[in-house]
Amino acid sequence: MNSNTDFTLAIEDLTVSFDGFKAVDSLNFYLDQNELHVVIGPNGAGKTTVLDLICGKTKSTSGSIKFLNEELTKMSEHEIVRAGVGRKFQTPSIYENLTVLENLEISYPYGRTVAGSLMFKRSSEVLEKINQTASEIMLQDDLDTEAGLLSHGQKQWLEIGMLLIQDPQLLMLDEPVAGMSVKEREQTAELLNKISKGRSVLVIEHDMEFVERIAHKVTVLHQGKILAAGNMEEVQNDPKVIEVYLGH
């Protein structure tokens, strides 16, 4: 179990119980390099909880999470981020009172200590990276806009941009197209296909049309356990999946 693997992420026997209720139950899950993997499943299946466990927000009851062969379960949140794991929350989590530029600047992965942040200079290098990221997330014209004034979809993009600027090896997105218009969904799908090159991406999503457009692999989670896994077609035709999730 302690052997090294080629996987970006290797989750083995992961369990978390809240007062006896197992939200995640002996989960085994592997994520390849350059893989864009989507997790689907009914409400309360434990999808968000899995992300919470990976990024250290929730401590596991038992099991192991290895990221690039490094055990994450013993690390603190900021160490996990610094190791290269980025996570977008289910509800857009951005700094509403700061501008788009400041949001990205805070997320820029230098000057992360107290002294570093006091000495931090907005150099041309920093600005270039911010501009580049902003145009990737289609917010290049809104750099000076207060983030709270952005549309719901743009907020989702901004949060994705705040992760991208850190160049994580593993990007985890919890329902990135919730609340987006059809056009925004298309743009987001394009964005995800672009940014999944050179890194692994784990997406949680309910919108099957969107899943179909982006997923390399799909895993269906149900009551904290994996119900089915495979490519989109296999999963969609799985009778168990149709029964608990897709059927209604």
Partner: protein, 383 residues
Amino acid sequence: MNFVYEKMMGGKKGLTGFLILATLILVIFPLFLDIFRLNLVGKYLTYAFPAVSLVLLWGYGGILSLGQGVFFGLGGYGMAMFLKLEASSVENTKIQSTPGIPDFMDWNQLTSLPWFWEPFNSLTLTILAILILPAAFAYIIGAAMFKRRVGGVYFAIITQVIAVILTILIVGQQGYTGGINGITDLRTLNGWDITTDSAKYIFYFINVALLLGVILLSRLILTSKFGSLLLAIRDKEDRVRFSGYDVSNFKIFIFCFSALISSIGGAMFTLQVGFMSPSFVGIVPSIEMVIFAAVGGRMSLIGAVYGTLLINFGKTAFSESFPELWLFLMGGLFISVVMFFPNGLAGLWDDYGHYITDRFSKSKKTKEDSPEIVEKKSDESAA
């Protein structure tokens, strides 16, 4: 130069506000107030230090401390201990059973100076203690609380409990601290009589210079990335944490810095008022400091100074005539500010200040240096 202008002064608007305040407390008050009144203003301005510290800690960092009096008190007591030792020379205390120790120790049957008083024989060590001890104490509290993710109301209550404990300790350990009466009869600093008018003037100006310096330094911190992070932590702590920051370190730092500022205020208080007592340490003064910041506008460093002045002028005026009404009035003022003017005086200034500055810049063009203008300006600043 541009860096100083943008960062420290906060651009044109920040510079105007800073210059108006500086003119008021550096020029207008000393010109128009007699030394008794000026000394009183100087005392009020020492409370502005903890008020400014609360703008950083509470306004920006979202960390409400109801114990800033602790740090104000530590600074004040540090200075008082030095002055007391100087006042307790062997000649001055030869009627005591143990000459050479502070009078209250002698009354409490102490026969030698307690070890922790020894460093306060030296002015250098005293100043170091004033600058370091409160910050170190804040570090211990901060590390214990913030590393365990204790925040919000729990933190506020714990700081309040610490204020209570310290007060009880000071009052109870009369022989070591001077008890409820505090440390009194302070007269000279390195042989220089601090009770004269000229000394009071000098302390007033040192106090003002320190306060303005603290405001500039605070602005420098707030305009750095640290400042944006402070706001970010206040509004979305988890997002900051999951962007790779160890949030607790940032909270600890700003708490320590707020303790340092408050301590300087306390030391200046002792120098200007000539004594220090537990009544400036406990819950009531700590809460008053929060009210000063709230009335001034908890996001405004300069507002905190006006808030402090306004409340203290009010307190002096009212408590002379209706002492028992004052507490209710202040409570009412606090509640109404929080409910109706959440940005305090600074918010009013942002909304209506341009009427006054416009009028001021117009009249300035017509009559260059009439005294009327000076008056108008002081009205506006105190408003």
